[in-house]
Amino acid sequence: MKLSAKFLIYNFLAKGMLLVAFLALGPFLIEYLAVKNTDSLLEEKKLEVLAIIESEGIESFISEENRDIGYGSYNLLKEEYILIEKVDYVFSSDTIFVEERILDDASVPYRVLATTFMSGEDSILMEIGRSLQTIQEFKDIVFRIFVGIIMVFLILSFLLDYKFANTVMAPFHRIVKRKLSSIDQPQQYDYKKIDTNTEEFQILDRSIADMMTRIQKAFNQERTFISHASHELKTPISVLQSKVEAMFAAQELDHVQMEKLLDMQGTIAHMKKTVNALLLISKVNNAQFIKTEEVEIKALLEEVFEDWEPIAADKKINFSLQKTVSHVIPDTNKSLLLMMLRNAISNAIKYTPKGGAILVSSEFGERGFQINIKDTGSGIPDEILNQVKEGLVFLKDAEKDKSGFGMQLMFKIALYLNVDIQVDSAENGTRLVFLFP
């Protein structure tokens, strides 16, 4: 998951959780505030009514006609009522409570302020009530507004966070894309600084550049070493070979001496192959081959097939080339490609027993163009295969006849040409798949 996505999710969840908590507490808060507000209103009303009584006397509410029942009145919408009556007691202080009142056969809750006062010798009870239905409606409206504002806030903050995260992470993506993913070799590294004012990315950019400088230096040292080593090794081998060849051609030696010379030539050939294979592996590692050729794979496979068909036939191996499709591989190196396939087929022939079969084919599979080499040979032991995949050149525990560099070369070349090799090795055979980019 991208770092920017993680930031976004974290922000969204953190804000969301806070807001949910706030929403959950919201109704209680609103109710508390609304009740407080109602109580204040009731208090104001009480003072207003007491002021009227003081100026106009209690008779404006309780006259001789309603002396026993007192005064009671609702306002027009029955949101408020007032009750004034004579009682036999006096409260020590005002009380506020909720009371259900029956109005038009419906029970309606009211917040009621009850107070008592003396008017002459009479003790008077005054109740001022306000319907709580009004409070409920107010509470609902405020809650909806609350939810709306919170949703808008969440969406806006998400969009802003998204934009911000992308802007902040942009230099990182530029470092990865321009400086790391798009290059195959250290020589292609772009040393131009990435434009950013984020210190961490500046440090990253500098550190990668420093590392690349060190890698390039090591590459150049290795390249120089290879060049010198190759010269120092190849020239004496060349002298040795020329001398042995000259003696072999001289025809002045007897057959036994000639056979000894032939043994020497075999040893020289082995030395040459070893030196060449090591240099080749090293050169492939150092990307010292150009990749600018276009290769038509069908023709290449036919060429390799023609080369090896007589060898397979001599070993009574059923060697066949099937289902080949035309496909041109761009930006590659023909001789390396040929070497990779030759090594694969030569190995297949070497390890397939007499009477076995080797099937070579090419096709467009799920992952693109692929070449398959399937044989009924003994398969490649896992411990050898793992070492080759790890890039070891000198394999441990390899049998003598398997200690050549064929497999290593095949895998190194594949890596260099961006070909993915899949090996399914079992007791009854091996299936080698070359997946092309």
Partner: protein, 222 residues
């Protein structure tokens, strides 16, 4: 034909020049750039075999001077840089042979250059009752063409170029596959190809000119 060998390693100079003389070339030797430059100015060469790592400079610098004349240039080098090969061929060299190489391979490459440049008039070679055409890469019996694979033809051609000389399996394998194929058995594959050549040609006429020298290799005897 006159050859200038530009090489500073004395043992190699001795072997290559002796081989060239045996093959009827006139061979001059230069062990430095300066010496080579003087030789080129004075003599007209058909071939210059040029080593790149010379004591007084890079052999590639000589290619400019050589481009004035008619000499065919074969670069002989122990260097492994790909750039050198590309640069050398771009600067007008005709071929590039990496050390260590077989002298027989050198001869085959020189003959191929001669053929390419039209300096070799004769392209058809009679061999037994057959006729081999190097240019068309065919082998005929009377008017019938006998189909050989490219490897079989290359093998026959190499034996023919080095006729009357025993070529061992290592030399033949190196010519066919170079030094890179990782297969210790490849020299045994030569036997398979020889067997197939004999079988294909044997259907038309005798192939006793293609001799097996027991324990050593093969020879085309003409």
């Amino acid at each position: 034909m006159r050859v200038l060998l530009v090489e500073d390693e004395p043992h190699l100079v001795k072997e290559i020049s002796e081989f060239l003389v045996t093959e009827s070339f006139i061979c001059d030797v230069s062990t430095s750039l300066r010496e080579a430059s003087e030789n080129i100015a004075v003599n007209d060469y058909d071939f210059v075999l040029l080593d790149l790592g010379l004591p007084d400079g890079d052999g590639l610098t000589l290619l400019d001077e050589l481009s004035q004349g008619n000499a065919s240039v074969v670069i002989l080098t122990a260097r492994s840089e790909v750039d050198d090969k590309v640069k050398g061929l771009q600067m007008g060299a005709d071929d590039y042979l990496a050390k260590p190489f077989s002298l027989l391979e050198l001869k085959a490459r020189m003959q191929a250059i001669l053929r390419r440049k039209g300096g070799w008039k004769k392209e058809q070679f009679p061999i037994g009752e057959f006729e081999v055409d190097f240019a068309a890469k065919t082998i005929m019996y009377a008017k019938t063409e006998i189909k050989l694979t490219s490897k079989e033809f290359a093998l026959l051609q190499f034996l023919l170029i080095n006729k009357n000389r025993v070529l061992n399996r290592f030399q033949l394998a190196e010519h066919l596959w170079g030094d890179h194929l990782d297969d210790d058995y490849q020299s045994n594959y030569i036997d398979v190809h020889i067997k197939n050549i004999r079988k294909k040609l044997g259907e038309y006429a005798a192939t006793d000119w293609l001799e097996t020298v027991r324990g050593l290799g093969y020879k085309v005897k003409i």
